[in-house]
Amino acid sequence: MASRQASSPSLSAENIAVIRGNRLVLRGLTVAARPGDIIWIRGANGCGKSTLLRLVAGLLSATSGILKAEGRIALADESLALDANLPLEQALQFWADMDGASAAQRSAALTDMDLQDLAHIPVRFLSTGQRKRASIARVLASKADIWLLDEPYNGLDTTSCARLDQAIIAHAASRGIVLVAAHQPPSINVAHSLVLGNQGVAA
């Protein structure tokens, strides 16, 4: 199940349109990403940023258009997907096992997000920012080529934002692709930014 392994990841979407609940959420969307690209998806609330990420993740299907994604994908959105009663370390290890990642990679991800002191705390006791960092640590430990981060800076303090920036830059440097949906500008250099206007038109 974690067998899709691409030599170099790529992502291309051509003229994508998505209709959800009788509403046109995205239309005329074209995007292409090469290894090492960081793409900032921006736009007002409800313009289809999350829809785009779920579409790339394969959780939604496009009403029309062609979407191709090569490489393994990891998604961090508002749902944490970690078992609330488990200690953070074990909850992350569940997904690390699913992804075929080692315990060392999981520990490295915890350290990268400064969560090593919370490793033995049950997930349900984590604060908002700590939960956000935990979901990013899940992405870090996944060994995925394409990262989809939905509002990853929400709830993070300055230090944690810097840690996240570092992680994103490191991933791009190792020829990964990062899609960041955020309404605030990221503090790092992005390959290009994709502005979603009203009704999801790529402006």
Partner: protein
């Protein structure tokens, strides 16, 4: 395969830490305890009707874990994370059904030994009852996951789950009760066939419901 067993193990752990183990068992045994209070200490009557009561109690106990089978995983994003790793919804449903069989069906069979002693079933009937329940419980586990997937997120999900489960379990109940008659062989074969069909179909129905519920 390793990932599949990890998911099954997670189901069992969630069931056993979240009240999914003892709640259905306590309910099941409570029915077995209460039934003699209604009929009075009539040994012949208890021996004749007790098996049927345990069958109904097992069907109703199936309903108890329904709310925690699918909805928490959908809300916490676990189902999304599995889907994006290439898991088909049918495979996720199969893992959940396998988890239910281990976490719910096996303990229920063990509790049947206690329950039949509480009711005072003859020993010959206990063997038939255990065999019949063992045949039917995979189907009941499949139905509970399927109904959980269908009703996840709906208001009044547990009441609706009960309404859905009752008609679907009628064949199991009819043949199950049939096994308690004089000659259990025909009924046992029909029970096995019905249970196999339901167990084999339920991952597909549950998978379709999981897919339809993804927004």
């Amino acid at each position: 395969m390793k990932a599949f067993s990890a998911l099954v193990a997670r189901e069992v752990r969630l069931a056993w830490t979240g009240g999914g183990l003892w709640l259905p068992i306590v309910f099941y045994l409570a029915v077995a305890t209460l039934f003699p209070f209604i009929t009075g200490p009539d040994k012949a009557l208890l021996a004749r009707t007790g098996g049927g009561i345990l069958w109904i109690a097992a069907l109703l106990a199936t309903l108890l874990p329904i709310e925690r089978l699918i909805l928490p995983d959908r809300q916490s994003g676990v189902l999304d994370q599995l889907a994006l790793r290439g898991w088909s919804d049918e495979l996720v449903a199969t893992a959940k059904i396998a988890g239910q069989i281990i976490a719910f069906a096996v303990p229920l069979l063990l509790a049947t030994v206690v329950g039949s002693a509480l009711i005072g079933l003859p020993e010959a009937q206990l063997g038939i009852l255990l065999l019949g329940l063992a045949l039917a419980l995979p189907a009941l586990s499949g139905l509970s996951v399927m109904i959980a997937a269908l009703t996840a997120g709906l208001s009044g999900a547990s009441a609706l789950g009960g309404l859905l489960l009752v008609p679907l379990t009628i064949p199991l109940l009819i043949f199950g009760a049939g096994t308690l008659a004089e000659d259990p062989r025909n009924a046992m074969q029909l029970l096995a066939a019905t249970s196999l069909a339901i167990t084999a179909l339920s991952p597909f129905a549950a998978g379709a419901a999981l897919r339809a519920g993804r927004i």
